[in-house]
């Protein structure tokens, strides 16, 4: 059998890897439009921030295809699909025949603006272009206050650029955030040196000078980075007569209306631009195509969004817009703009169905796991929501307040009660207590606590002079 993958991004590459992981003898051809081997798009914002270099984000190297017996063509655009002949046509007019075709064509950036100083932020080449153009102090406008736009803005600010985010909506990331969290995020970004302009759009771009906004103001910019959303790249599918509607339509096997053609990743209708669903879809199609698991189905991926921006810890998942007014939901909410924290937890039937977590990183980690697993949430919601921010239990003020059963020396299982009993038996100093109970003789970590007990006992039950001393 011959499988052909159109698109060599994160979805297409993962599909190829999965097929080979099943050790199948499927003949595999991968066709990529970009002049690069598959790379990790998720890491582009880290490249922009300067953490990684352009050449450190590769998923595959030049040996991968040969090692895995994959026919691999990069810098190769597919211009058409002939479903009757079961071939794809390439830009050089050659054809590649298939038994099974997998479309992983991804998405393309919306570009409300074009020009010499304007670039998208979508591909490795975009990324390289931006990095080459900026240095500390460069004024940059980022058009779009969604996830990618904010990651780009934060990264460029980290390089010392003067960054302004222009966002036509009333709040940042309006699809993933509610009003309260949007506002806390705006403040956090501004504190990190990113100027935020909300509710305005770009009227005009003047190359070399900057942009003019709809409210009449102007923002200087040597470079405009456009991150105004993406559109599923379904044109190839549509031209081949496959059903599309702002994305390719598929069933739960990820099959299009042609049973020999599958689609995975961002080109599928309803994909959120996240990598997790793309990877899970790649695994399902690989299991089906190789026959490794004919019953494999894609049933959806819980959507969890994590903003990758240094010093801004933001997670948004599931039902983010549910409010306290919803009678069927339990909503727990903490709003702390001063410290840049906002936490909202939405539960139904004791299970996490949504959350927005800004500035509470350890809470985000446990809540995401509860959301993914569907497990019952702990009954102490506030503790869950605040994570380590929750003040701990007060420590006992005096050794006298400890229960007798409290273990002070763990190495030798010595409780406060044992120490008190030893004291009353005549071991009325530190050395005596140590000899009688072996407390402190292991790791020694309890020396302070045992000394406190000695001081406390000395005050509470002073040792009476030994009998012999009295006689003398």
């Amino acid at each position: 059998m011959k499988a052909v993958v159109v698109g060599y991004g994160m979805a297409g590459a993962r599909f190829a890897e999965q097929v080979r992981a099943y050790d199948s003898d499927v003949e595999l051809t991968v066709l990529g439009a970009e002049p690069h081997y598959a790379y990790n798009r998720v890491l582009l914002s880290t490249v922009l921030a300067g953490g990684l270099t352009v050449d450190s984000v590769g998923l595959h190297d030049e040996y991968w295809a040969e090692k895995n017996q994959v026919e691999q063509r990069i810098d190769t655009a597919v211009v058409g699909i002939d479903r009757a002949a079961k071939v794809v046509r390439l830009a050089d007019e050659s054809v590649v025949d298939y038994d099974v075709l997998v479309l992983a064509t991804g998405s393309r950036a919306r570009m409300p603006l074009i020009g010499d100083d304007v670039t998208a932020f979508r591909s490795l080449d975009d990324c390289a272009r931006i990095v080459a153009r900026v240095r500390a102090g460069t004024p940059v406008v980022v058009l779009g206050g969604g996830v990618l736009g904010l990651e780009a803005a934060r990264g460029l600010a980290g390089r010392g650029c003067r960054v302004t985010v222009v966002h036509p909506k009333a709040r940042l990331m309006e699809r993933q955030l509610d009003a309260g969290s949007g506002e806390v995020l705006r403040r956090s970004m501004q504190r990190l040196g990113v100027e935020i302009r909300l509710g305005v759009s770009v009227e005009k771009h003047v190359p070399g000078r900057g942009v003019e906004l709809s409210d009449g103001s102007a923002v200087p910019a040597e470079l405009v980075v456009v991150s105004a959303g993406v559109r599923a790249e379904d044109r190839l599918a549509a031209a081949a007569g496959l059903a599309t509607d702002n994305g390719i339509l598929v069933d739960d096997r990820l099959r299009t209306d042609d049973p020999d053609i599958y689609a995975i990743g961002d080109c599928v209708k309803g994909s959120g631009g996240l990598v997790q669903p793309a990877w899970e879809q790649a695994a399902v199609v690989a299991a089906l195509v190789t026959g490794a698991d004919p019953r494999a189905r894609y049933t959806g991926t819980p959507m969890v969004l994590r903003l990758k921006a240094r010093d801004v810890d933001l997670a948004a998942l599931g039902e983010v817009h549910t409010t306290v007014d919803d009678d069927d939901a339990e909503v727990v909410q903490v709003h702390d703009p001063t410290r840049g924290r906002y936490a909202k937890l939405v539960l139904r039937a004791d299970r996490v169905v949504g959350a927005i977590l800004l500035g509470v990183p350890d809470a985000a980690a446990s809540i995401i796991q509860l959301y993914d697993s569907g497990a019952l949430a702990p009954s102490d919601r506030l503790a869950l929501l605040l994570g380590r921010a929750l003040p701990g239990a007060p420590t006992a003020a005096s050794p006298g307040d400890l229960p007798a059963s409290a273990i002070l020396c763990r190495c030798n299982t010595v409780s406060k009660g044992t120490l008190v009993a030893a004291w009353r038996d005549g071991a009325t100093d530190l050395t005596g207590l140590v000899n009688a109970t072996r407390a402190t003789t292991g790791c020694g970590g309890c020396k302070g606590a045992v000394a406190d007990i000695v001081a406390w006992l000395d005050a509470a039950e002073p040792a009476s002079p030994p009998a012999a001393a009295r006689c003398a």
């Binding site: 998720v42 300067g50 998923l59 997790q276 994590r306 980690a365 763990r410 190495c411 790791c443 970590g445």
Partner: protein, 659 residues
């Protein structure tokens, strides 16, 4: 420690700095405890009855000859332990290969150190727990402990960490985690992903030691290509460890002047334990720690002689000196020392779990000799197999759960009643002097081996009974090997010399720090091993919704066969318990102190509920020291690591049932 009568006194020593925990303080009471075996026992009409040593030895030798006549040489198997002295471990391997000529020999360290050992060999070309003296840790600024709980398992050792900020990786908030500057609590079975996430953070945050990676290592690119797909937020979703905490761990380690990464069983006892250890080593290499004075990577050894026990030939694939049994030069050298033809030595045999699993089956061994191990409690799913063998012989000093089911039991000496060397976690060879005479009727394992060997037709002097004579032979057998003891002598050790292997000559000062000039591979470079996360072998589901993880408590050791016989220790922790989050307990209808059953697909363990608020809601914990229906290995998953053959002790899917 030193001993007068049966009273223990601590002694200043680098490892424990003169400290002892409750197990050490009470070790003396093992010497005159009730229930000490003093006569060989033979099963007659279902009962173990005392017989003379000669009768027992004659009987066993005869049964062995009969079994081998009917089932071939591999019809008999030998099982050793990481608590045996170097001399015993060495002669046990020799006994199997020379007197029995069976390939079927392995030991309980397979359930303990084998993943760390295999990973160390892959990365460094040498496996020594700590390739530096333990006292080097005193100068550490930051120490990452992966799956290690020394505050309970090795309390005096913790003193070495008191100056460092600790990063503790453990699903539980253990006594060690409570001391941590940063506690990372991954979902059980996801340590490998966590190590990848921290490595990713090291690289993405610009903390990679590129100069070190270029000069002293190879294989970074392939390892990074995998770690590149595990950015911290992705890892967070799998492990439950906050992305920011992963980055903080990376920056703490990278920012420290002196830093160490140390692993233990929590990261190792998995079906991907070897890969997991290599993931931690990759992290250490990216930070430039191994082979740098004052920093490094190491693993904490589990048993008394966990290091030496894995060097001298009681492993299925190994000959003395940490040599490979498949290496013709190694076979020739060792056969020469033993005075036998090289081609008479058997090849590699089954590893522990597979060996036990094959007992009594067609093609498997039908007899088993057990030394220093309580298999019925410590090995997974072994009870049935043990009852299927025709001959079970156990050498022990108490009637352990395994000995109680044996056909023949030999009463042997214990720690203070015999001399011999042990090799500690830092590769330092220690001489333990005999302090007391054994009780009447008790003999050493070495005497037992000679008694059997002679009856099997071996010359007497091939199986020395004096530990020092055995050690002299071990020196020659290990000469030129990775773990070269040829320059070590009882005289040097008695004189107080601190000798860390390799010690290739009598004038050689030993090697306290192994990798300062280069690693053990021929090119001197350490290897990044490309490792990918795969998750626990048995994920949770609707039927078995909780992860169970297993471990130790301070008061007990291994199967508890010894420590459960010490009244103070048994009183402190008398029975199996299961630690459960309060909400998880409520969901299961359980309250504190209730008895419950922890059920997996393989069986059920009875344990008393302990409500522990710091537990993850998806995880329960059980200690593994208890016998009968309280033994944790009734439920653990025997999925094996493909390289080390370590079973997945540390995570399986369970449910809680009132019971």
């Amino acid at each position: 420690m030193s001993l007068s009568g049966s009273t223990v006194a601590p002694r200043e020593f680098p490892t424990n700095r003169g400290g002892l925990c409750q197990k050490g303080w009470t070790a003396g009471s093992l010497l005159n405890m009730a229930g000490r075996l003093t006569s060989p026992l033979v099963r007659r009409d279902g009962q173990l009855v005392p017989v003379s040593w000669d009768d027992a030895l004659d009987l066993v030798a005869g049964r062995i000859a009969d079994l081998q006549a009917r089932h071939g040489r591999d019809g008999i198997a030998v099982f050793g332990g990481g608590g045996l002295t170097n001399e015993k471990a060495y002669l046990l391997g020799k006994f199997a290969r020379v007197a029995l000529r069976t390939s079927q020999v392995d030991y309980n360290g397979r359930f303990c150190m084998s993943s760390a050992a295999a990973a160390g060999m892959r990365a460094f070309g040498v496996d020594r727990g700590l390739p530096f003296p333990v006292t080097d840790l005193d100068g550490a600024d930051v120490v990452l402990l992966a799956g290690a709980n020394p505050a309970e398992t090795m309390p005096p050792f913790v003193g070495h960490l008191s100056g460092a900020d600790l990063i503790v990786v453990d699903p539980r908030r253990t006594a060690t985690a409570e001391r941590a500057a940063l506690h990372l609590a991954p979902r059980p079975g996801t340590d490998l992903a966590l190590a990848l996430g921290i490595l990713h953070a090291v690289v993405a945050d610009g903390l990679l030691r590129g100069d070190y990676v270029a000069e002293r290592t190879s294989g970074f690119d392939a390892a990074w290509r995998i770690a590149a797909a595990w950015w911290p937020e992705q890892v967070e979703r799998v492990t439950g460890v906050a992305a920011s905490d992963q980055r903080r761990a990376a920056s703490m380690l990278a920012g420290a002047g002196n830093a160490y990464v140390l692993t233990a069983r929590g990261s190792e006892q998995h079906a991907r334990g070897t890969d997991t250890v290599n993931a931690w080593i990759n992290l250490a290499l990216a930070l430039g720690l191994p082979g740098r004075l004052g920093s490094g990577f190491g693993c904490l050894t589990g048993q008394g002689n966990g290091q030496g026990g894995r060097e001298h030939g009681q492993k299925a694939d190994q000959l003395p000196g940490y040599r490979k049994i498949t290496d013709p030069a190694a076979r020739a050298h060792v056969a020469g020392v033993w005075g036998v033809p090289a081609d008479s030595l058997p090849g590699p045999g089954r590893s522990a779990y597979e060996l036990l699993d094959a007992l009594g089956t067609a093609g498997g061994p039908h007899g088993l000799l057990v030394f220093g191990s309580n298999l019925r409690v410590s090995a997974p799913r072994v009870a049935e197999r043990l009852s299927d063998v025709e001959l079970l012989v156990v050498a022990d000093f108490v009637l352990s759960e395994t000995a109680a089911r044996a056909d023949v039991v030999f009463p042997v000496t214990q720690w203070a009643e015999e001399g011999g060397t042990m090799t500690n976690l830092e590769g330092r060879i220690l001489l333990r002097q005999q302090a007391v005479d054994p009780p009447e009727g008790v003999r050493s394992d070495l005497e037992l081996l000679r008694g059997l060997a002679v009856r099997l037709g071996q010359p007497e002097d091939r199986f020395p009974v004096e530990p020092e004579v055995a050690f002299e032979e071990l020196r020659r057998a290990s000469a030129g090997g990775i773990a070269d003891y040829s320059g070590v002598s009882y005289a040097r050790l008695s004189a107080g010399e601190a000798l860390h292997w390799p010690v290739p000559g009598v004038d050689h000062p030993g090697t306290p720090r192994l990798f300062l000039d280069g690693f053990g591979h021929p090119d001197g470079r350490a290897r990044f091993v490309p490792v990918e996360h795969g998750g626990p072998a048995e994920p949770v589901d609707a039927e078995y919704p909780l992860y169970a993880t297993t471990g130790r408590v301070l008061q007990h050791y291994q199967s508890g066969a010894q420590t459960r016989r010490v009244p103070e220790l048994l009183e402190a922790v008398p029975e199996a318990f299961v630690e459960v989050h309060p909400d998880t307990a409520i969901e299961a209808g359980l309250a504190d102190d209730d008895w419950c059953l922890v059920e997996s697909r393989r069986g059920a363990v009875r344990a008393r509920v302990r409500i522990v608020a710091s537990m993850r809601t998806d995880t329960v914990f059980l200690p593994f020291h208890f016998p009968g229906d309280q033994r944790a290995n009734l439920i653990t998953n025997p999925a094996l690591d493909p390289i080390s053959r370590m079973p997945e002790f540390k995570v399986c899917a369970v449910r809680l049932v009132r019971g």
